[in-house]
């Protein structure tokens, strides 16, 4: 069946309008990504990027020295990242939901409180990381002083140095920083809910918890999943907070910290690009998984 002239002309117009956007994406996204994938198959070094040769998939795996897939430090970083993503995004979602529900209720000065909640999110991560680094300092830190003061702990803890605590400290700071972002996205969804459903529920005398479980949650579910995906994407490529707080330490190294160390500290552009490429693939895979499990089609209200 021939498409009508109108539809064809509309498609042409759409293509025309999309072209600048696609060109921009090609320059700022596709080109760097393509270069990273290309370098991941070379032995390029940072000191002389021009002189490199093609080595195929040797950076990923080879019989001689193993490659990325046999590198325990890489898998440690993958494990840290997945653990961090699951725990921090989980906590942020629950807390963000609670904050959003509280902020959607009418009370005096609500606008002011809504703005104030965003402050942790607005502080640049490096600044808040350094700030928390000092607050969590084992000798001079205010957190230890306060906890010892109220008798919660006997002796100051080394929050960022003790390997059993360091990752939890990072999660705590990230939750502090990012919960407002979650709350804001969920709040936006809550604002859109139709009031008549709640009125009906109230007339029927439904318990508030039931209202939340059977009315609110299903209605905000798509928005919630989009927020979770955004956060998970962010958490998977987490870098600044960890690097500022604990540097390259393997106990807390994330995938991007590992990739940066290879690329810059070790000048191994080939190997570091291979790590970046795997990072990209893992993030893509995880997002696909979340989208499937959450049964969400982005842009579709379900």
């Amino acid at each position: 069946m021939a498409t009508s002239e109108l539809i064809r002309s509309r498609r042409r117009a759409a293509a025309l309008f999309l072209a600048p956007m696609l060109a921009l994406l090609a320059v700022v996204a596709a080109w760097p990504l393509g270069r990273t994938v290309y370098f991941s198959m070379t032995d390029a070094r940072l000191s002389d990027m021009g002189a490199h040769s093609f080595v195929g998939l040797a950076n990923f795996w080879n019989a001689e020295w193993g490659g990325l897939l046999e590198d325990p430090a890489w898998w440690g970083a993958v494990g840290n990242t997945l653990w961090f993503t699951a725990v921090s995004v989980g906590l942020e979602t629950v807390l963000g939901l609670a904050v959003a529900l509280a902020l959607s209720v009418r009370f005096p000065m609500r606008g002011l409180v809504r703005a104030a909640v965003l402050i942790p999110w607005a502080i640049p991560t490096i600044v808040s990381a350094k700030l928390w680094g000092w607050m969590l300092h084992d000798q001079f830190g205010v957190v230890n002083a306060a906890l010892v003061g109220v008798g919660a702990i006997d002796a100051p803890l080394a929050w960022t140095a003790d390997p059993t605590l360091a990752l939890w400290s990072i999660v705590a700071i990230d939750v502090w920083k990012t919960t407002p972002f979650m709350a804001l996205l969920i709040l936006a969804a809550l604002q859109m809910l139709p009031g008549d459903i709640y009125e009906a529920a109230r007339i029927d005398g439904v318990h508030p918890v039931k209202v939340f479980c059977y009315v609110t949650l299903p209605l905000i579910w798509p928005a919630l999943m989009v927020a979770v995906i955004f956060r998970a994407l962010d958490a998977m490529r987490m870098f600044d907070l960890v690097y500022a707080l604990t540097g390259n330490a393997e106990d807390t190294a994330m995938m991007s910290v590992f990739a940066r160390q290879q690329l810059v500290d070790f000048q191994d552009v080939g190997y570091g690009s291979a790590a970046s490429t795997l990072l990209f693939l893992i993030v893509a895979l995880m997002i696909a998984l979340v989208l499937t499990l959450g049964r969400v089609r982005v842009g579709d209200g379900r």
């Binding site: 000191s47 430090a73 080394a158 140095a161 500290d265 000048q267």
Partner: protein, 428 residues
């Protein structure tokens, strides 16, 4: 014919342009230029660097911009690598660690034409270290070796001698802590963060026990041995009671912070901490002693210190390399080394200055510890070449695991040997 004329005309034009360019360039060389220098900012390093550079600027009529860089040497190297890999001319003179000439050398000019042979008056080992493929890539600014700081007042109060072995440091610290009963007081602080500084510290422990230098001069991996395990086990045994738990995230300045505020009996640090510990506002002024780091135990045990120190190099991408080299030669001159030694306790790199009365008056231990500085143990950076950073990172991660109690020393060292073998398979 016409083509040929055109070519000739073009050539003439190009020559004329080049001549004009030269003419324009000449007076510009004579005019004052701005040289950017990156200086470390550990202790009062930055202040001393700025003052010295200003003296040069006043003498020559040029101007100097001092760029401060991260305190962690690992981060500083990363920053340099990014700037240099981009071929940026923003910084003309770089302050580089003793282990970096091999890594960054390709980005630096040969300084030999500008020195007038003065490098012969510096420590031979450092000049050899800075020479890559026959080119003098950097001039020595100051040298370093790890030293032991102790609270002379506390040792005297409890009638304890200055320790001469690592085990004695532990015993002495425990004795002082038990006698003082002060909750804020710790026994020993050092650089325990997972970075280059931990490699320096741990190399001192292992070498003091006769456990070698991780990789020997022939490139053989030697780190998995009983002496090295004994050394790490000794220090790991301190983590529970005499070392503050946060030390696993300390660099030089954090450990100095704890020691200088009077909260530690012993500290391992570089000589620069002396001038600051003795500064007028220091709570421990007049209470501090400095000695060589102690020996270990067993066969081959000997006192040792890791060779550190910083050098100045001129970027290949500098717009005024001759002028930048002139600044370097001013900063490494005997008179500037003397000012740094007197005011900041930065070790001169000229043996002759270790007999200078003024320097010895300001920093008495320079004389006593001359052998420590002259015979400091080098990190295996030359033999491992551009894989050194990988080797060092693998080493500090293993040591960090042992100190934090995640692995015992023999297990961690065996695993490290495997990691290093993996790195070596790609060649060094």
């Amino acid at each position: 014919m016409t083509t040929r004329t055109a070519t000739l005309q073009n050539t003439a034009l190009a020559l004329a342009l080049a001549a004009a360019g030269l003419a324009a360039a000449q007076p510009q060389e004579a005019r004052a230029v701005e040289i950017a220098i990156s200086c470390g900012a550990v202790g009062i390093e930055l202040e001393l660097c700025r003052e010295a550079a200003e003296r040069w600027a006043a003498e020559t009529g040029n101007t100097v911009e001092v760029v401060s860089t991260p305190n962690s040497s690992t981060e500083r190297l990363a920053l340099y690598q990014q700037i240099l890999a981009a071929g940026a001319s923003d910084i003309d003179v770089y302050q580089v660690d003793v282990i970096w000439p091999g890594i960054l050398g390709t980005h630096f000019i040969d300084l030999a034409p500008y020195t007038g042979g003065i490098e012969a008056q510096h420590f031979e080992a450092i000049v050899a270290n800075n020479t890559v493929d026959g080119e003098l890539k950097a001039m020595p600014l100051y040298t370093d070796a790890g030293v032991l700081y102790y609270r002379a007042d506390l040792l005297e109060k409890h009638g304890l001698p200055v320790p001469t072995t690592w085990a004695e440091i532990g015993q002495t610290a425990r004795a002082v802590l038990a006698a003082e009963q002060d909750e804020g007081l710790w026994g020993y602080v050092f650089q325990g963060r997972a970075y280059e500084g931990l490699t320096c510290n741990a190399l001192e422990w292992i070498d003091a026990y006769g456990g070698g230098q991780i990789v020997d001069a022939d490139g053989e991996i030697t780190v998995d041995n009983a002496a090295a395990a004994a050394a790490l086990t000794e220090i790991a045994g301190w983590m529970a009671d005499i070392v503050p738990p946060g030390a696993l995230n300390y660099t030089e300045e954090e450990s100095r912070g704890v020691f200088q505020s009077g909260n530690a009996v012993f500290m391992r640090n570089w000589p620069y901490a002396w001038a600051l510990a003795q500064s007028p506002d220091s709570p421990v002024r007049g209470k501090v002693g400095v000695t060589t780091l102690p020996a270990g135990a067993g066969e081959g045990a000997a006192p040792t210190g890791t060779l550190g120190g910083w050098n100045l190099a001129v970027s290949r991408y500098s717009e005024h390399p001759e002028i930048a080299a002139d600044l370097v030669m001013h900063l490494v001159s005997a008179q500037e080394q003397k000012i740094r030694a007197v005011r900041g306790a930065y070790n001169p790199t000229m043996p002759a200055l270790y007999q200078d009365a003024e320097i010895l008056a300001a920093t008495p231990f320079f004389g006593d510890l001359f052998d420590t500085f002259a015979n400091a143990v080098a990190r295996p950076s030359r033999v491992t070449g551009d894989k050194y950073n990988r080797v060092s990172a693998a080493f500090w991660e293993s040591v960090h695991d042992v100190l934090s109690g995640e692995a015992d020393a023999p297990t961690a060292l065996a695993a490290l040997e495997g990691d290093l073998a993996r790195i070596k398979r790609r060649g060094w």
